[in-house]
């Protein structure tokens, strides 16, 4: 299985997410993550999809099927272009007096941040690529993780040309 990050520009209209989600389920595509948000143009939403496929052929299918949706304006495979990929995670971990120091040093090593502290737990925030986020989750699993929230990956192409002009 190979993963690819697709930047999908769509019309910012009601029903768009239903169409994208409906297609993914109908075609039984493997989606690792999906996230959507506003862009520099109010009428355009950017959906970031990480797909996991067996072959180039399957990847073409995903792109061509998505391309058929009327409200899809543009699809660019950012994994095939020079690009910067990021994901944000927040992890709530049980933190006692004994473990707190350990947690702080892990946070330092990963250049993460502690964004909330209570007497029982801490919330750690980290931005990075998927491997880095997987790695911190792995290390923290030695402690008691209460919950994790991840955004899914987003990406921008490097250089002056935006996805809409690619």
């Amino acid at each position: 299985m190979k993963k690819f990050l697709l930047a999908v520009l769509v019309d910012n209209k009601p029903g768009v997410l239903t169409h994208v989600a409906g297609l993914i389920s109908r075609r039984a595509f493997n989606i690792e993550s999906i996230s959507a948000g506003y862009t520099e143009e109010p009428s355009v939403t950017r959906i970031n999809i990480v797909v996991s496929v067996e072959s180039e052929n399957e990847l073409d299918q995903v792109v061509n099927q998505l391309g058929k949706l009327i409200d899809v304006i543009k699809i660019v495979n950012l994994s095939k272009a020079p690009s910067i990929e990021r994901e944000l995670v927040m992890i709530k971990v049980k933190a006692s007096k004994e473990t707190r120091a350990d947690l702080v040093s892990i946070v330092d090593i990963f250049r993460a941040k502690i964004v909330d502290v209570t007497s029982e737990n801490v919330i750690i925030e980290l931005t990075g690529n998927q491997q880095k986020i997987d790695a911190i989750c792995e290390v923290l699993s030695d402690y008691e993780i209460v919950e994790i929230a991840r955004t899914g990956a987003i990406a921008l192409s490097r250089g002056p040309i935006p996805v809409k002009k690619m």
């Binding site: 409906g22 061509n64 899809v72």
Partner: protein, 561 residues
């Protein structure tokens, strides 16, 4: 001009050239139906919303125009689903208008509320929920454009009840502004050059046409290409009619119940030129060993069809209307004497096909389904549209009815929807009043939308309905005989249903044929008579549709008898 939303919708339909809609009223579309009444807009009231949507589908298949159906919210809309899915699978342009509960009531599980956009997303090309009357003209304009251009398909417009009552200063937009869809499908000329080169190199080329040829109205060009190449040709079930059945070198249709000749030619050819088809599992047999010796060319409008089921060697994207004339012109300009070059292969393919033509054994005075369909085929002229339901009778019709031209054979191919036939035939007749429409249905299928017999009677719609009455869900029975130890589980129909009485009760004439001789003495007269009639034809229960490529087998591993 100032008007309400209901009037505006009807104005939009007029602007799109809609002459007729199929629909069924209910709470949230009462305002719309009131305007239909006042405007005298032609609406065919069917017996069931499923009937309405299949009728709109038949209307569209027979003409290429967009079929329009109207249903109320909730159960009305839900009753459309099978019909929308049927049309979607066979790329039929429909605009389905459903009423929705009023905007403030949406999402509250209101009376007769169902999420139409959610349910129809996977079975439409696009759908809309209209909550403000201002959006309505633009949405309708877009919906028709999307349904009819590119690869056609159904589009749903779900309209909140308040929209019909709201006032609008109506103006129909002239332009369409869709950033993600142009509806244009130019073709790559270089790819066509590659195809020409491949044909020049080939020794055993085969042309394989699908429903795309009918949809794109390029059947004439295909025939011109065939005239030039003089190579054998075949079609899918959906492509029936794009090549005239009596053309020399036409091997019959291919696939699970296709002809021996066509299937063998696919396995033997060295160049398979596929035009407007999508390599359905019914057509490929064991897909890994489909056309093993061939370089495969795919002419196709939909990029997502390329390499979906079968890996192709040359793809020619674009509307067949753009690509096929190019191919024809380039072939005409080529110096090769194709006819001479392919002659022995042509004769060989015909000879192989002749070894096992579609056939049936006559026994006593029983009516064999093959004999029945052959007879109907003989009686009917080119001005006939034949419509089928789903099952053995559908395959027998495909095998024994000589379809001469495009849009003369209407069938639910992709979804295989029993109950499609009667309403679709009705829609076809309304679309083409000057054509004769014959429905070939089964004793199972006819029951699935039998209420539409009353619609025929009420509206004086003159179609002939032939029930191939084998007292069984025949296609199910065939599989049970072959693969399930002859266990007729839930497939026998030897009940006391009397189709003559049903027909008469619904306001139609009914006839019964039980002896082979009656195909000569009775059938022609009934078929030529005026007014709708049901012809209940008793046939033996245990006939198989043959040949057959069993599931998972190669096309050349057909069961022949």
């Amino acid at each position: 001009m100032k008007m309400n939303g209901a009037q505006a919708l009807l104005e939009c339909l007029k602007n799109e050239g809609v002459e007729l809609v199929f629909g069924y009223p209910g709470g949230v579309v009462l305002k719309l139906y009131d305007e239909i009444y006042k405007m005298k807009f032609p609406n065919i009231l069917t017996g069931h919303e499923q009937g309405a949507v299949h009728a709109a589908d038949g209307y569209a298949r027979a003409t290429g125009k967009v079929g329009v159906v109207i249903a109320t919210s909730g159960p009305g809309a839900a009753n459309l689903i099978t019909g929308i899915a049927t049309a979607n699978m066979d790329s039929v342009p429909l605009v389905c208008i459903t009423g929705q509960v009023a905007s403030p009531a949406i999402g509250k599980d209101s009376f007769q509320e169902v999420d139409v956009c959610g349910i129809t997303a996977p079975i439409t090309k696009h759908n809309y929920l209209v909550k403000n009357v201002e959006e309505l003209p633009r949405v309708v304009k877009e919906a028709f454009f999307i349904a009819r251009t590119g690869r056609p398909a159904p589009v749903c417009i779900d309209i909140a009840a308040n929209v019909f009552n709201s006032e609008i200063d109506f103006e129909y937009p002239e332009k369409i502004n869709l950033r993600g869809y142009t509806g244009e499908n130019p073709c790559d000329e270089k790819a066509v050059d590659e195809v020409v080169a491949a044909i020049e190199k080939a020794d055993f080329p085969l042309i394989f046409v699908g429903g795309g040829v009918i949809i794109s109205e390029t059947s004439n060009i295909v025939r011109e290409i065939l005239n030039r190449l003089q190579c054998p040709c075949t079609s899918t079930l959906m492509g029936l009619g794009s090549i005239e059945a009596d053309r020399e070198g036409y091997l019959g249709f291919a696939g699970m119940h296709g002809s021996y000749g066509a299937n063998m030619a696919i396995q033997n050819c060295d160049l398979l030129i596929c035009i407007g088809m999508r390599f359905s599992d019914r057509v490929t047999g064991k897909v890994a060993e489909f056309a093993p010796n061939a370089k495969i060319v795919h002419f196709e409008i939909d990029p997502a069809e390329i390499n979906k089921n079968v890996q192709v060697d040359i793809k020619v994207l674009g509307d067949l209307k753009n690509s096929l004339p190019l191919l024809r012109d380039k072939l005409n300009a080529a110096e090769t004497d194709f006819a001479k070059k392919f002659n022995s292969w042509l004769n060989y393919s015909i000879e192989i096909g002749n070894k096992h033509l579609f056939g049936y054994k006559t026994e006593g005075d029983e009516i064999k389904p093959g004999a029945l369909i052959s007879k109907i085929s003989d009686i009917c002229d080119e001005n006939t549209i034949v419509v089928t339901d789903v099952g053995q009778h559908q395959m027998w019709t495909a095998q024994f009815f000589n379809v001469k031209g495009p849009r003369q054979f209407l069938t639910s191919g992709g979804l295989g929807t029993m109950g499609f036939g009667l309403p679709a035939a009705m829609g076809a007749k309304l679309a083409c009043p000057d054509k004769n429409v014959v429905l070939i249905t089964g004793d199972g299928s006819i029951m699935m939308n039998i209420q539409e017999l009353a619609t025929l009677a009420d509206n004086n719609i003159d179609i002939k309905i032939v029930i191939v009455h084998n007292f069984i869900l025949g296609m199910v029975g065939q599989w049970q005989r072959l693969f399930y130890n002859h266990h007729y589980s839930a497939s026998e129909l030897n009940l006391k249903r009397d189709f003559i009485k049903i027909s008469e009760a619904m306001g139609l004439r009914g006839y019964r044929l039980t002896k082979a001789a009656e195909l000569e003495t009775e059938l022609p007269e009934i078929l030529f008579s005026k007014g709708a009639a049901v012809i209940d034809v008793y046939v033996p229960q245990e006939e198989n549709v043959l040949p057959m490529v069993p599931g998972g087998k190669r096309l050349d591993q057909m069961v022949l008898s």
